[in-house]
């Protein structure tokens, strides 16, 4: 967990004193959640829904929104209760909080978006055991004030959603020739159905993860180069 970095960026924002955090640190928290420690590609948490519901970009987006809701809600409530939850039974308490929010979003989606409810299937209630939610509760929300926990939940949720939509989009384009149900290549296109099948999910996920690893090592290499130059100039 890269919590050290996260809290570091926030204390910088607190210097302004008028706001608990400035726009600058909001952006850096978002960057942390989406790129630096992306829950799916870097921390490798929540792989089950990432593989299962990404048969289309639309499903992936719906799942992402549901997880954002649950993460923000549970992070906020757990952070508010952090002084009252005894540490021996904290995991059980977190699970109760999380499953309450999951039940709420499940009922909302069932009522208002029945199509999405059917295509997500049991993966909607399974957000309860999504490791991302419990990991953020344990590692962040239980130690930080409510607003920061809410923000962290949002950033991690967005990171999860970006990863899912990327995976779902690629699978939908290759496997069905559409994106968000818009036909991309015209009628004559024969899609490779392998990619909407389970095997394709694993393979695309592997390639995306390798791509992100490459990107991160490239960015870090660039940073290191800059630092080296700075040091050389200082010397």
């Amino acid at each position: 967990m890269k919590r050290g970095k996260l809290t570091g960026s926030i204390t910088k924002g607190q210097r302004s004193k008028t706001l608990p955090f400035g726009i600058q640190s909001l952006l850096s928290v978002l960057k942390e959640g989406v790129i630096e420690s992306n829950p799916v590609f870097v921390q490798v948490l929540g792989t089950c829904p990432a593989l299962a519901v990404t048969t289309s970009a639309k499903n992936a987006f719906g799942m992402g929104l549901a997880v954002i809701f649950v993460l923000m809600g549970s992070n906020l409530l757990i952070s508010l209760l952090r002084r009252f939850i005894p540490s021996q039974i904290r995991i059980a308490s977190y699970i109760v909080v999380i499953s309450t929010f999951v039940t709420v979003i499940e009922m909302l989606i069932e009522t208002y978006i029945p199509g999405l409810y059917n295509s997500l299937g049991i993966f909607l209630p399974l957000i309860v055991v999504n490791c991302i939610v419990l990991a953020r509760a344990e590692a962040y929300a239980s130690k930080n004030p409510p607003l920061l926990a809410l923000l962290d939940g949002f950033a991690m949720g967005v990171g999860f959603t970006v990863a899912l939509v990327l995976l779902g989009g690629i699978r939908e384009i290759l496997g069905a020739g559409t994106l968000f149900e818009h036909n991309l290549f015209g009628e004559g296109f024969k899609p490779a159905t392998l990619f909407v099948k389970p095997a394709g999910a694993f393979i695309i996920f592997g390639f995306l993860m390798a791509g992100v690893a490459k990107l991160r090592s490239y960015i870090n290499g660039k940073k290191r180069n800059k630092n080296d130059k700075k040091e050389a100039a200082a010397l």
């Binding site: 299962a52 699970i95 399974l126 055991v129 099948k197 095997a199 393979i203 592997g206 993860m209 690893a213």
Partner: protein
């Protein structure tokens, strides 16, 4: 009887929990470095899943349905599974220490294994009977064990491979899992009717 056998085979091979339903991917990727540990994890999951399928079925039909509390099932099920795992752990520790020392470290991980909660939810949604639920839980776990042990064997071999730098570790393992899933998708053509 044949129905039960058919259910078992289709759950283990055709609708394999990992390769076709994507349930239990976290331990599948996390605890599959060596075949021996993978087997340990598989046994622990089988034990818990069979028991939890029975208990969640009983609680759902004897307590939740008569009181019209079906919408509460997710919360209740996850609590049942968590306490069941804790109970099994304490029981094993006291009475079967040999088994505890073999499976003990995997037990706490199972609470957040989505395969266990997934099986309980599928049992309810497919309107299975009690026997069918237990068989479903048991054979789904056997399918999980089969997948994770095969995959651990593959990964052990992969230690000697030399993929590009960005692919080292999990990415290449995922591609291998994709190839395995392709092999398993060959079973889809099988039909018993």
């Amino acid at each position: 009887m044949t129905d039960i056998l058919l259910l078992m085979f289709s759950v283990i091979l055709i609708e394999n929990f990992i390769f076709s339903r994507f349930l239990g991917c976290c331990p599948f990727l996390g605890v599959s470095e060596k075949p021996a540990t993978a087997l340990g994890m598989g046994f622990a999951v089988t034990f818990v899943m069979t028991l939890s399928s029975a208990v969640t079925y009983a609680v759902y039909h004897l307590i939740l349905v008569p009181n019209k509390l079906e919408y509460f099932s997710t919360v209740v099920f996850i609590l049942i599974i968590a306490s069941l795992v804790q109970l099994i752990e304490m029981f094993m520790h006291k009475y079967i220490p040999a088994l505890y020392s073999a499976l003990g470290i995997y037990l706490p991980l199972i609470t957040t294994n989505c395969a266990v909660l997934g099986a309980a939810l599928i049992n309810i949604r497919s309107k299975f009977s009690f026997i069918e639920s237990v068989v479903f839980g048991f054979s789904a776990a056997i399918g999980f064990t089969l997948a994770i042990v095969i995959f651990a064997g593959v990964r052990e071999r992969m230690a000697f491979a030399d993929p590009p730098k960005a692919f080292r570790g999990l990415p290449i393992a995922l591609v291998a899992a994709g190839l395995l899933a392709m092999a398993f998708s060959g079973f889809v053509g099988m039909s018993f009717s």
